[in-house]
Subunit: 495 residues, 3 copies
């Protein structure tokens, strides 16, 4: 059994290759990225948490309840959502004692063996929160107390943690209808360069969603446009994008089921929109319209300079009863096979060589790494490959990604590491793991005499820092020629 | 050339990772599983072979003729089925001299380089059968004689081999219309706990199969039900499932082309069934009906407690002329891309959280490991992932499986190793190989400081023994509350 | 920064596994293949280049402009086609100064880190062309001068290079309408055994292609057949195939989007052909006809003995504007998911056991390695798997191929290495890399005690030399019984 009395530490060589030759090289490569700041350009930390800057709550509500990776694993082994404090939409009672929730989690620690969730949690518990004994049913209370004490420390308030965790810049994800008041508040207090919004219009682009008409009304209100037609709707979206640009946004984000970007004829787009306003749209029309709007988003990006991020392929709320009971994001989003080549053809034919478009592609379908995504990124100047996403953001997932895409896309058509989490304290863990895996991959190239060590070191720095900075440039740099930050402008990264 | 004079031995480190650091750890992990009994919960050994308990025949009819892995490899290189003694359905002569067949096989030994078939055969020949010289055209006769002599030993009669091979329990696969007489016979002789049937109703669920009506008539006879309607048919199936439960069955097994589980309206199910009885069913109706019946099988499992195994994705009898000439299972079953997420949605919405359903998923399409299967098993309490199956039951296939599914499903949403063979003597080889690959994978996690050694050892024991036992519990434990075997009841496996 | 002063050399262990144990074994395996001649049975070197035997031009027009791997990588990072000298179809000016093009390429050398293109280029620059300093913007001119000087050496004329590069035999790819005059010329000068044509009828089999009717007219002219009907067309194709056989061809090559081989009824084939002649064919009819013609090509192969190569799954000219501007083969061919099992069923049912058919399958969709291709090649005597192709012809791509197909197809249902390049000087680099990867894979099997070292050595020789020779036998051996070259006849390869 584990010696729970020994002090819990993280091994400095964790997640590096086992072979001693490669490990020695990987250590050297990793060392070069150790002190680089974190560039966190895609995530789901709530801007309000940062703006309010209040202390985090208890360990369970910080680390367990909102983490759908963690919740789904416990649920899969028979732990009820109620016992984990996941709220019901009908207001029926669920477990509210954070210590009880924490004990349930700790008692199932073995379930996370071999998972990235374990790696991230260990990093948070040991490195960030100072837990000193391996987690188990026996040590659950001690860990809870340690964490609770730490969270009361002013250094653990959200904005202080930006420095504490080494985060140079963090992007939030914000509905197209967001007021951006939190961002305005942060900017007024001098945090505008470090906390930036991201334009996420999904809710408005899927015209058969329940509540879509309310969202359109809210869009009109936010944009100061009376939306009676498709033309109004497009103008309102454009206006909101500019509002985001002015609030410091660098990117849009799109979570569609398919990557389809086939545009509609204007008359057809107008007709579908009108039908949707009347509540008479069909599922097929709505799907065609969402594809059309992806095309439109690319067009708008060529005008306002927002980087376009596409995250397709998650079938949301696989169990509709759970969705009804608990809402979204509780573990029931399941990937499906995703086609990119034909789907993106309309967009890329129109804008794939446009100097002002940057399209960053993500996937949950790793079959597309070598077959579709690397060949597309390996020829279209507008395309970059995002980091392995969600279910693939793991030691072996990241390794397979590099092994599959580098042949055709190289390193410089990827964005370097982009995290994707609502778990604020896990951001350093995710970047740390990515740097380790990239170091291991680069070290293997060196060990196999396919790359020189100095090149590997330089590439590791690019992947950890320079490429994410370059992939998400401040919009001003391209849109407002008077920008005073040329260093961060979209530019080629090279030695 | 190989030194055929040296004694043929198996290396103790075979199939362990090459890197010395990882190998040292893998040895320690493997050691913990060395003496564990074999739990063989899915296979195709004929219950009659065990019940009759007669000596096995000659080496060729035991090891060559019925092994479709082996036959297809020789056929692919131009050796005719006739030369391998694979019988023709028209009764035309084929090679019947077992020594001639054995020589043909031995002369092509090089074809199996790098294949799992070679690994399994070496284990059988050296460890089980005592062959002392590497196989080749030159040593074929000596090997033949050694094996033939060994097979005459009473210790090599089927039931004695259960002890000799270390098999604690073995499940056979039995048609839903089977009399189960062999199982009754075995139970009467005290083997009922060690040899259990499995309910396989495929032939009855595909209503456009030639011979389906005869099978339905036989089903009615076995179940004591006059089958004139869909309702009768369902009742007869339920009755047969209960008969299997009473005969000790723990599971059902389903070999459909697709994983579709969309239920039909009762009226539609009745109409398709009636059309099928009249011989007027269309292929589309039959396909829809088979999906409906998978849903029904899950429903029945929630009532009678039989574990549900789904093995989709094999397109059977790819060359219809060969099927006509030689029948099924001669190597022409070819995998096709298989969709699980949408296909299983109806079943999982209805029963995915049912406390009495256990659905074990297998695949021939490894693309679904990370994309579909691990995410489904990683959230639905009813779902477990079976072991890599058939074409994927190989050293690298099993490694890729762990690397792809552990991130999201962990170890404890898998069943541990489940073999799938009609080659009785190969069962220990298959479990030995699986334990070696799991030991290597776990050792890598330890070497990369992602897991502690004590955890790896414990997990290896779970994968080899405790998880398969837990995944296929005796039905009594859940259905009959008075069960006296709580240790084997479906329970969470953890330290 | 790289030490550009040090002499640029290739490490003898490049692309071998990093683990010292495995590397030591890999060196031994590789050593056995070091002096084997190169068998290059599929490529795109122009027969005219060999027949004219003129000195190669400047470094840029040899190594940069025609290499679509290289061009697309630079384009993907914003370098315009114009700057790379890729000609425009409208004759507008592009960069023509070879030194300027070369400098642009050299300045972007870092983009190729980790790619097979870099491996191949390094081999060519260092081993073949004698460049002594690592490539960079600073060393570009020196490298240019070194190469230019080397290209002026008579030993660097095309035919001399066949010896210089160790190429025993090279196949070109020739349109079905080619005069084969270059091949006749080469044969007259004694090169007929070393330079052979390949029959590529794609342009004629896709009846909705612009220019198809002109090509049919040319086909008729070449074949001496007035083509007024489908029957004439088939006869003309058969005649051309025989002309290729007489010119030494060993194979046909087929680049279809899909692998579909469903034959049409003769009346339907005639009707589609007639419609196409009238210019009235639909896209659907054209697609069905191309599938029909693949079936027909297999039938013809059973008669004339030409090996049939199928390269499906590349969606050509993804950006039609680039195709319009620059023509084909400039980097915009993108793979799509490809189905083989159902698609090839008609062909394999008809000819899969035919003793005179050899069908070699390639793919750009590695998902099909274990799921479809290995199972098909592992049972049908007519089928062999070609080498990893195009985007997959890389160190990790070749490793994944062996790891995925060997389980089911073994080594002897693969063809060994088949290159595919228009870059003449890169042929040795490609074979060298393949031999290294196969040596590494075989060495791992040895290190894991899954194969003996002598078997690994023998298999490496088979993969590098004997299997490609056997996979593409001279047609005479099977068609003309009087052939005097039985050693090269299609025969089983074994120890």
């Amino acid at each position: 059994m584990s010696d729970t009395a020994a002090r819990w530490t993280l091994h400095p060589d964790r997640a590096l290759p086992a072979d001693p030759v490669t490990r020695g090289l990987a250590r050297q490569v990793l060392e070069a990225t150790r002190d680089l700041p974190i560039v966190s350009m895609h995530g789901h930390v709530d801007a309000g948490v940062l703006a309010r800057d209040e202390p985090f709550g208890d360990p369970a509500s910080l680390l367990v309840v909102p983490d759908h990776y963690l919740v789904r694993m416990l649920v899969s082994q028979g732990v009820p959502h109620d016992a984990l404090g996941v709220p019901r939409r009908d207001g029926q009672p669920v477990e509210t004692d954070p210590r009880a929730i924490w004990r349930t989690f700790a008692a199932h620690w073995h379930l996370f063996r071999g998972t990235p969730t374990r790696f991230w949690l260990e990093h948070q518990l040991v490195e960030v929160l100072g837990v000193t004994q391996k987690l188990s049913a026996e040590t659950a209370d001690a860990a809870y107390d340690t964490i609770a004490e730490r969270l009361a420390d002013p250094a653990f308030r959200p904005l202080a943690l930006l420095d504490g965790l080494g985060i140079e810049i963090i992007a939030t994800t914000d509905a197209a209808t967001a007021t951006l008041a939190d961002h305005a508040d942060l900017a007024a207090r001098g945090w505008g360069e470090r906390v930036v919004p991201t334009f996420r219009p999904d809710a408005l682009l899927h015209v058969d969603r329940p509540g879509w008409r309310d969202d359109v009304a809210l869009l009109g209100e936010r944009a100061g446009v009376e939306i009676g037609s498709y033309g109004d709707y497009v103008r309102a979206l454009e206006a909101r994008r500019w509002a985001f640009v002015e609030a410091g946004a660098r990117a849009t984000d799109h979570g569609h089921l398919r990557a389809d970007t086939t545009p509609l004829d204007p008359a057809d787009a107008q007709a579908v929109f009108a039908a949707a306003l009347r509540g008479e749209v069909t599922a097929g029309e709505a799907q065609a319209f969402s594809a059309h709007m992806l095309f439109e988003m690319a067009r708008m990006s060529t005008q306002d300079g927002l980087v376009m991020q596409l995250h397709p392929g998650a079938l949301r709320d696989h169990d509709p009863r759970v969705a009804l009971e608990r809402g979204p994001d509780v573990g029931y989003d399941i990937p499906v096979a995703t086609e990119y080549v034909r789907s993106l053809a309309p967009l890329l034919e129109a804008f794939g060589h446009h100097p002002d478009l940057r399209l960053i592609l993500f996937t949950l379908d790793e079959d597309t790494f070598s077959r579709e995504l690397a060949p597309l990124a390996g020829v279209y100047p507008a395309v970059r490959l995002g980091a392995p996403w969600w279910f693939l953001d793991s030691p072996d997932g990241m390794r397979r990604y590099r092994e599959a895409v580098t042949d055709t896309a190289g390193f410089y058509n990827t964005t370097g590491f982009v995290d994707d989490t609502r778990a604020f304290l896990s951001i350093p863990a995710r970047h740390d793991l990515a740097r380790r895996i990239d170091a291991g991959y680069l070290a293997r190239l060196v060990a196999e005499h396919r790359l020189d060590l100095d090149e590997a070191v330089q590439t590791a720095v690019d992947l950890a820092y320079r490429l994410p900075r370059a992939a998400y440039p401040p919009v001003a740099a391209s849109v407002f020629p008077s920008s005073s930050d040329p260093a961060a402008a979209p530019q080629e990264v090279h030695p």
